[in-house]
């Protein structure tokens, strides 16, 4: 049972080894001559405008909230897809109702202009 998760563990180990290995190798092999200008923080070569810790617009927040709601909707589709053949038309209808109610919300969001980036 748990043996089937071995590829996932191998993948995680390879990903970790690659990430850590790259940093360690560049630290060991890399040639460094630090100076005050080189170590200064920069944004695309421009002089600094302000702190990176700016207050963000609420626009990002609403996109995140809508992402969570529709993410949870997608989560319900997984067990439904697994038992879809056994449920047949009945399962299709109940998921249709579920998605229709959320579609109402989607239309509301769209009409309200919440997805627009004014």
């Amino acid at each position: 049972m748990l043996d089937s998760y071995l590829p996932i563990i191998v993948l995680i180990v390879i990903a970790l080894a690659f990430a850590v290995g790259t940093i360690v190798m560049s630290h060991l092999i890399g040639h460094r001559k630090p100076s005050a200008v080189k170590l200064a923080p920069y944004e695309c070569g421009m002089p600094l405008v302000g702190s990176a810790r700016e207050r963000l617009s609420i626009k990002f927040y609403i996109i995140a909230m809508l992402f969570i709601v529709f993410d949870i909707e997608a989560v319900f589709l997984y067990p439904w897809a697994v038992v879809f053949k056994r449920l047949g038309m009945f399962g299709f209808a109940e998921m249709g109702v579920f998605i229709f109610i959320l579609l109402v919300g989607y239309v509301y969001v769209w009409k309200k202009g919440a997805l627009e980036w004014e």
Partner: protein, 166 residues
């Protein structure tokens, strides 16, 4: 081997849980929380509940963490220069209460006993996701449909809160 793996993951979980509370930067706390969620997903896998593990990563490590990070960014919190632990007394009271409840549960209940018809063999035979799907879409059909109303309310609430001026 499995027991050793369990204790290793449990150790990582507890350490990242402590980092969540103790980290000076809120973003570091959030990253440690992602690690905690991921370790909990590993526990679900070890309990032969792969669907729960997938949900744990998708919803908690994905969606909920996005929300927490957005709250951190919206509140514009910097790094705390000194982590001040205020209300230590209340923390101790709450912690000992939780500890007492846990001990009561472990001593009086049977936390490792299998209860009900869904045993490990049934899960391995039928499949974990199939079992959840069957009970969710047949036995608990009405709660499932009500969930969509709940999500609809969440959508409308988010839009009304964030788009007040429109």
């Amino acid at each position: 081997m499995q027991v050793l793996f369990f204790y290793l993951v449990a150790l990582v979980t507890v350490i990242s849980g402590v980092i969540v509370v103790a980290a000076k930067s809120p973003v570091n706390s959030a990253l440690a929380l992602v690690n905690t969620f991921f370790c909990l997903a590993v526990f679900y896998v070890m309990l032969s509940a792969p669907f729960m593990a997938a949900i744990q990563i998708m919803v908690y490590a994905g969606a909920i963490m996005v929300l927490i990070l957005f709250v951190i960014m919206l509140l514009n919190m910097g790094v705390e220069p000194f982590k001040k632990f205020t209300h230590v007394t209340w923390g101790v009271v709450a912690g000992s209460l939780v500890l007492m409840l846990t001990l009561f549960f472990i001593s009086r209940g049977q936390p490792t006993k299998v209860v009900g018809a869904i045993t490990r063999d049934v899960i391995l035979k039928e499949g974990h996701t199939e079992l959840i799907g069957k009970s969710l879409f047949v036995n608990f059909l009405l709660p499932f449909e009500i969930t969509s109303i709940l999500l609809l309310v969440a959508i409308i609430g988010a839009v009304i809160l964030a788009k007040k001026e429109v």
